[in-house]
């Protein structure tokens, strides 16, 4: 075999290898990309589940704070009520920020101004100023607790279905 035919055969083998290798390379790139995307989606899912669990814990905390607040108001312990309503407002704002779904926004849009009005009344009481707290306040807090319980139920259902 002379040098020219050797070069010819080597080129031919090289060309054939390219024709076979290119689709394999493309197929492997696509496979790797799909695997990377699947792994990214799994990581997002895990992150969402963790974040939902944090929100659930925060919501349970809100229910405890509401129960404490109602007790404090019933026994006219305004110092305790002031501490609890401050914590409640902060936690509710946190929950609202942590919840990606805007469908739950309506639960917070009314409760937050209602709570800040109550907080201002409680602060006036702590300072010894004359301030009246409406009779319906305890039932308003109970209604808010009911809304949060429904929200907890929805989040749990979403977690199970995922």
């Amino acid at each position: 075999m002379n040098a020219e035919s050797l070069i010819f055969w080597l080129s031919l083998i090289g060309s054939l290898a390219s024709v076979v290798g290119l689709p394999i390379a493309i197929w492997q790139i696509v496979k790797a990309r799909t695997a990377a995307e699947a792994s990214k989606l799994a990581s997002i899912d895990t992150r969402n589940t963790i974040s939902r669990n944090i929100v659930l814990t925060e919501l349970m905390g809100c229910l405890r704070l509401i129960a404490d607040l109602k007790t404090a108001l019933r026994i006219d312990n305004f110092e305790l009520a002031e501490a609890r309503i401050g914590d409640l407002i902060r936690t509710v704002i946190q929950v609202r920020e942590d919840l990606p779904e805007s469908e739950f926004e309506s639960v917070f849009s009314e409760s937050l101004p209602q709570m800040t009005i109550l907080r201002d009344k409680i602060e006036q009481k702590v300072l010894g100023q004359s301030a009246k707290i409406a009779k319906g306040t305890i039932s308003q807090l109970s209604k808010f607790a009911d809304d949060l319980t429904r929200l907890i139920g929805k989040l749990r259902t979403n977690l199970k279905s995922n």
Partner: protein
Amino acid sequence: MERKKFEVILDRLLEKSMGGSLRWKSTSDPESFLLVLKDSSISVSHELGFDGEVDREEEYVNFDFRNKDGEIVQTESVARIGKKADPMFEKAVRIYSSARNEALRIDETVDRIIEQLAA
């Protein structure tokens, strides 16, 4: 807040309140009523006072403008001191009365009483 903007808000509140399209809610303050908007809210309250030194009655209607977190970002008051009243005072009182009526369902209750007394 510019007085002109406040006047525009009062006009719109009055118009919608009279049309019955605003859902005012009662609050933990018996004299304050809340209107929840998309990402803000307004509360309106009424204050009655008496300045004993000059033997003069004072009346205020306060509007608190609240942000998404429920915190007050601006307060506007409309007053009547003795016989002198702010030009927007009557409008403000009508808004307050309408808010109170809507939140406490006063008309509905009174109508039911009338019905029951007629039976």
